[in-house]
């Protein structure tokens, strides 16, 4: 029996035993260290409650500023986890994910060995099981394979065919970084500027996220225009793809609207006056000028309401419209295929 099992699993048996041993050791370590840290924390808490903290390494700034530090439960440093001063927060998660992951791998290995041994059938990979389980419920494998097997002309591998895809991906980048910025941004005249400064100076990697959002926005406009010019020069907008040109042009306008509304959000001099001048130009339109001006500014002047409106447009309305038009745009590319060059 044992010999047969070994013949089946030959090469990996040694490796698995080594892994199992490592996992047992790791589990031991994690339990010991968790126990140890709990004892340590309890001791710290008692020491803090009784006397001034001896080894206050977590909040050196706060401790120096306050002669009598607040109890741990009512910590006054609300942003230490954002700016990265509080280093102890991630430690338990890291510890548990590393050692817990090893433990789970060990348990999985045990289950797998036992299963192979009892069923006497080769192990079916988890990926396959998950795919089958999902397909039983959603039944998407057939339409999905149709999509995945669709032939793409080799001419579509030229670099100028990825401009549109790059634009779409940059939109995803913008969504991700934009959500991160929205966590800390406050769209009021009193707080907008300060919250941008907070993002730049205090939030961990805040300056990096803002830089990516800023430069990817510029890149998105460049890529969008380049994609449009490529389509225009190649004549890919012609029958039957007229509506894809229309949705693409609307997407370009939406991208520019993203830029225009996003520019106001830092609420600095440049932002304020660029918006003032921009909405003034819209206000000089015949017939609808005043309406356009009042719609953009929410009143006759650029105020807190303008900021709220631009923020709502920038983070809610424009993304929804963009996603909708991207959907129609991609749907037609998928249905009709990439336009063949002459």
């Amino acid at each position: 029996m044992n010999r047969r099992l070994r013949a089946e699993n030959g090469r990996i048996t040694v490796l698995r035993r080594a892994l199992a041993l490592a996992a047992i050791l790791a589990l031991l370590v994690v339990f010991l260290s968790a126990f140890q840290s709990r004892v340590q924390a309890k001791a710290n808490l008692e020491a803090r409650g009784a006397s001034p903290p001896a080894g206050e390494a977590v909040l050196p700034v706060a401790a120096a500023a306050q002669p009598t530090p607040a109890p741990v439960e009512k910590d006054t440093c609300l942003h230490c986890h954002i700016s990265g001063e509080d280093k102890g927060l991630w430690t338990p998660l890291m510890r548990w994910s590393i050692f817990g992951g090893v433990g789970l791998a060990f348990l999985f290995g045990m289950y797998r060995s036992a299963s192979v041994w009892t069923s006497r059938a080769p192990w079916k990979p988890l990926r396959l099981r998950a795919a089958e389980w999902l397909d039983e419920r959603y039944q998407v494998s057939e339409p999905l394979s149709k999509i995945l097997n669709k032939p793409v002309p080799t001419s579509a591998l030229r670099w100028w065919y990825c401009l549109g895809g790059i634009t779409a991906f940059l939109f995803v980048v913008q969504a991700g970084t934009g959500i991160m910025l929205a966590f800390y941004y406050k769209p009021t005249p009193q707080e907008a500027f300060a919250s941008i400064q907070f993002i730049e100076n205090q939030v961990r990697f805040g300056a990096a996220i803002r830089a990516v959002h800023h430069w990817a926005a510029n890149g998105m406009i460049v890529m969008c225009m380049a994609h449009m010019l490529r389509v225009f020069i190649m004549g890919a907008y012609k029958n039957p793809r007229e509506l894809n040109w229309v949705s693409g042009a609307l997407l370009l306008i939406l991208t520019l609207a993203f830029g225009f509304t996003g520019y106001l959000l830092p609420w600095d001099q440049r932002a304020f006056w660029a918006t003032t001048v921009g909405s003034e130009i819209a206000g000089s339109l015949p017939v609808i000028g005043d309406l356009a001006l009042v719609f953009l500014r929410v009143g006759w002047n650029v105020t807190a309401l303008t900021l709220s409106r631009f923020y709502a447009l920038h983070v809610i309305a424009l993304p929804i419209f963009t996603l909708a038009f991207m959907g129609t745009h991609f749907l037609m590319v998928r249905r009709l295929g990439i336009a063949e060059a002459l």
């Binding site: 500027f193 990697f205 225009f260 130009i281």
Partner: protein
């Protein structure tokens, strides 16, 4: 795909995994670029200007670079024309496929459109640079 399209089959690759992997490589490249931008941004942040002051108009108000050519154009034409012109341009842009309905007769058509694009681009670029330095 039908059996008749042998030529297309010969000159095509499957979407998965061939084409998708190419796309993923492009995405990876962009993510890498974004990471580089982020790392550089840590040391050279985008920064903010002066806080907004509605009582104090700065001397030079300039829009972002992609509106700069319009801003420069507005200096030379009346304001109403300057506001109407972009709207008309945008409407023409959106409806372009319905204005140019003829199928391309030859490769020449692409050349002509390329020349038109080059002329417009150079004009916009010139206006942008002019607006930047003025």
């Amino acid at each position: 795909m039908q059996k008749t399209e042998t030529k297309q089959e010969r000159e095509s690759i499957p979407f998965y995994p061939d084409h998708l992997s190419t796309e993923l490589k492009v995405m990876g490249g962009i993510l890498l670029l974004a990471a580089v931008v982020g790392i550089v941004g840590l040391f050279l942040p985008v920064g903010t200007g002066e806080p907004a002051d509605p009582m104090n108009t700065p001397v030079h108000v300039k829009p972002e670079w992609y509106f700069l050519f319009l801003y420069q154009l507005l200096k030379f034409i009346p304001k109403t024309t300057g506001a109407v012109l972009p709207v008309i341009a945008v409407i023409v842009l959106i409806l372009w496929p319905f204005l140019d309905r003829r199928a391309d007769p030859s490769q020449k058509a692409r050349l002509y459109r390329g020349i038109a694009v080059a002329v417009i681009l150079i004009a916009i670029l010139a206006l942008t640079i002019w607006g930047e330095v003025s």
